[in-house]
């Protein structure tokens, strides 16, 4: 149970970072922390105590496998996460070129 709670705390740490940080790059890092806490959670829900890697061989009888589906989902989600992080960083770099700063307090053309 502690692992799940720590996983949730990691999620909240990321959320706190998104809400309070003023630096664009730190915001991107916070989003990534949130992302990885969710990935960790997915791997955890598929884990079974003393489970083997889910590969069928002939020698095994009555094997206990970990659930392979969350692992497949995490792989997909990591690829999607790569796309979102790349997109965020690309925009952050473009913003830096326009404004010469990463500070969100100085990047405020738009209000609400």
């Amino acid at each position: 149970m502690t692992v799940y709670i720590m996983c949730f705390i990691l999620f909240l740490v990321g959320l706190y970072g998104v809400l309070t940080r003023r630096n664009l790059i730190k915001i991107v890092i916070s989003v990534t922390i949130m992302e990885f806490s969710v990935f960790l959670f997915f791997v955890l829900i598929g884990y079974i105590e003393n489970g083997l890697a889910p590969i069928l061989t002939e020698e095994l009888n009555n094997p206990v496998f970990v659930d392979p589906l969350p692992q497949a989902m995490v792989l997909t989600a990591i690829v999607i996460g790569l796309a979102t992080s790349a997109m965020l960083l690309a925009i952050a770099i473009r913003l830096y070129k326009k404004y010469g700063t990463f500070d969100t307090r100085k990047i405020n053309n738009l209000k609400g």
């Binding site: 959670f41 989600a77 738009l110």
Partner: protein, 510 residues
Amino acid sequence: MSDLVPLFVILPLATAFLIPILGQFIKGFQKGLLPLVLLFLTILAINFITKGIGQPISYPVGGWDPENGIPIAIYLVLDGLSVLLLLIINLIGFLSAFYSISYMRKFTSQNNFYALLALMIAGMNGVVLTGDMFNLYVFLEIAVIASYALVAFGIERTELEASFKYQVLGGVASLLILFAIGLLYWRTQTLNMADIANVLKEGSNSFYLTFTQILLVAGFGLKAAMIPFHAWLPDAHSSAPSPISAMLSGVLIKAIGIYAILRLFFNMFIINYEISLVITVIGTLSMIIGSLLAFGQWDMKRMLAYSSISQMGYVVIGVGMGMILLSKNGDESVASLAIAGGLFHLVNHATFKGLLFLNAGAIEHKTGTRNMKMMGGLAKQMPITSTTSLGASMSISGIPPFNGFFSKLVIIIAAIKGEFYLLAVLAIIVAFVTLSYFLRFQRYAFFNKSKFTRKIKEVPFPMCFSMVVLVILCVGLSLLIFPGIRDIILTPAVDVLMETTNYSSAIIGM
């Protein structure tokens, strides 16, 4: 018939792949291919509607058969509700792509623009069709990542800032949704929506499920820009190129926000009173605050963006009232009337808000400003833009005989019949506020004395064509109020939501 279902995803995806490659060698390839593909998909969707869909058509991707009654493959499910959304997505997509032929002349790298637009439509079609939770997340990300790039397409200061804000909030929303999907999988050990519904049928409404539902409401509420989560919408929707604004406001927030909420909460979870109350309250807040915020805007596109929040509020209260009545075992006919009103307004909003953003794009294209104080006297110089925009403004503020009047009327009648008197009064007041700010828009943009020294001409044919088609739809869709036409288009969608358990039994039973 069922073999045609994956075309809705495959064709736009293939288009998105082909345009950057072949578009470099063949001149005009990108401009020709995307509108043609979307026109074909629109006709296909109309074909599905006119044939009538009794039972949901499901297509197992990869052809995996169910094992002991448990579905293994990813299912694409086409039923009354999804076909309605498919029609809107592809029709507005076609008109926006056709409009872009002239509008995007001033931009460079048009290949990327059309490829991203195709990708966004592929993602939305996928979200609407899929019957699998994780697949929903994947398609949703395809649609929103393409939209992040499209919002930033102008790469000026405001565009980049809006896109960054949109991405951070959109990213948080996606993660909330992914987290909820993980929780659901943990409880039910399956990802198929029909199968999850089947498993949840036996379980009680525990704290665990309520937590999951709240995560989903927050996640999809962020995507749909309901009021506590609305901060990104006015920036993102007003900064994008106008055809994209029309797609974002007219279709994207419905397809990945409202549709997902409807599908999950009606067909997958058991409807409970607390969540339906939360959804209705969020809808009411959006309706009121969105319209008040729109009232204070002088930037044309920001005003339209805020008014989108307000109009989506109407859709959500219509559906939310239906949910409350269903959860309390209230009058079924009133519940179905409320849901029909909500869906009717959803369809109408796609047409008139799409049209208004295209009008705003036409004005910006010719005059170079978005500030309403700087305009005036455009009615004489741009007659087609002016007429179509008048039609759309009348429609959104609920003047008969335009379609907006009838959908608002149905929602208000349902509110009175269901004894939600406060909601009925608020809906009427907000309709008047909407009318007032759209009259202001008309007066400042089109009827005041002209402030332009140079001569302003009407926009070219492709832009006019899209606007005229949409204004005809604005008038024509009021026909949906008559039973004969309503039974073909709207009733199948309402039935999907009313018979909540039918969805899972129809798919599991196959």
